[in-house]
Subunit: 221 residues, 2 copies
């Protein structure tokens, strides 16, 4: 029975257990599960502790803050992002696959988007590994070193913004009472094909971004 067992019986003893009942990895695993099941607001230190069969204060023997938990969760999410195209496919196809996988991962965890944008990569091993595959792939494909990080950040910014956009309600652009003063919005809305509109906008932007990047690599300066 791994630490991931749900709803373990609460400990009744008063003092230090003979063997530790918590580990950093176990906390992270349960935090990911909790985030997946109950969403952003469901991930509280109290709920996490209950899942682990422990008092909330016990968590603080293993993590300093809730932000620590979020950082660990985020590194775990990044572990699942597919970077396998680099070195196997042309750089632009690899970058496109990475961007799609990256967006899919954060579509499932939009609450982590602001965390990802701001958290240093050190002590986040899977995150470092992801960036290493992308950066070394771009370098090997002939991208000038001084542009590589900017390319990565530009694509990442688009991906994270697009991940937030997947949360938008379908009628976000419906001007309601203000329709009379917004004929252009109304026309554009009416002509927009139905279906997965967030994905359509993402694919359009990704395609445009890659076209521009190919041009930049071909004619630098």
């Amino acid at each position: 029975m791994p630490t991931a067992a749900s709803s373990p019986a609460p400990r009744r003893g008063r003092g230090r257990p003979s063997r530790p009942v918590l580990t950093a990895d176990g906390i992270t695993t349960e935090a990911v599960a909790l985030l997946e099941e109950r969403g952003q607001d469901g991930l509280t230190m109290a709920a996490l502790a209950r899942r682990l069969g422990v008092a909330p204060s016990a968590l603080y023997n293993h993590v300093a803050t809730k932000q620590d938990v979020l950082r660990a969760v985020q590194d775990d999410v990044n572990r699942g992002i597919d970077c396998s195209g680099f070195g196997r496919l042309p750089w632009d196809a690899a970058l496109a696959d990475w961007a799609r996988s990256y967006r899919d991962a954060y579509e499932r965890h939009p609450a982590l988007v602001p965390v990802m944008a701001v958290t240093p990569v050190r002590s986040a091993p899977h995150t470092v590994e992801m960036y290493e595959r992308v950066s070394s792939g771009l370098l090997a494909a002939g991208w000038p070193a001084h542009l590589v990080t900017n390319v990565v950040v530009a694509v990442e910014s688009f991906v994270l913004g697009s991940a937030l956009d997947t949360e938008a309600p379908a009628d976000i652009f419906d001007p309601g009472d203000l329709a009379a003063s917004a004929p252009g919005v109304t026309t554009a809305n009416a002509a927009r094909p139905e279906g997965d509109t967030a994905r359509a906008a993402f694919e359009l932007g990704l395609s445009a971004l890659l076209t521009g990047l190919r041009g930049l690599l071909a004619a630098p300066g």
Copy 2:
């Protein structure tokens, strides 16, 4: 003395005031100021009420939730975004100016990024006006109606992701102890020019995105 006066003397009377002391606009104005002065965590209903010289519960006669306050603040921020290029400049130059102004506005208010991505535009008049200028500008420039909203959303996703990126610490990509396993990241970091790196990545991405969009408009399908 407008409602924006700071630290008014608290009312001491017990019942309904002879004239209302709060208005929706006054609440929004003070909320913007509070967000600007104290940042995301500083904008609490208690702090907002104190600034307005009122008990926290009084706010609930004018707004239903704190989310309401955030939505109003956000519409106010959108009022300041420059859309003046549309109809005056070529569509791509107008779109670039809009994107820069949009990013600048949310760089000052990164906490509003997740709100913006998700909030319906109805009952947000300045936001509708912004989208109207952009949409009608693209339509007038010859963009097919069925692509206009996707273009807007794609650029917006890039802008909002880039706004979050401005919050990142300068050493976010420093692999620390993991440097030995990340030679590509280390090389790219070392070669990246110093200065406003977030802006450099934004300008690179914006340029690439616009190049791709120009190509798409020229050769649709």
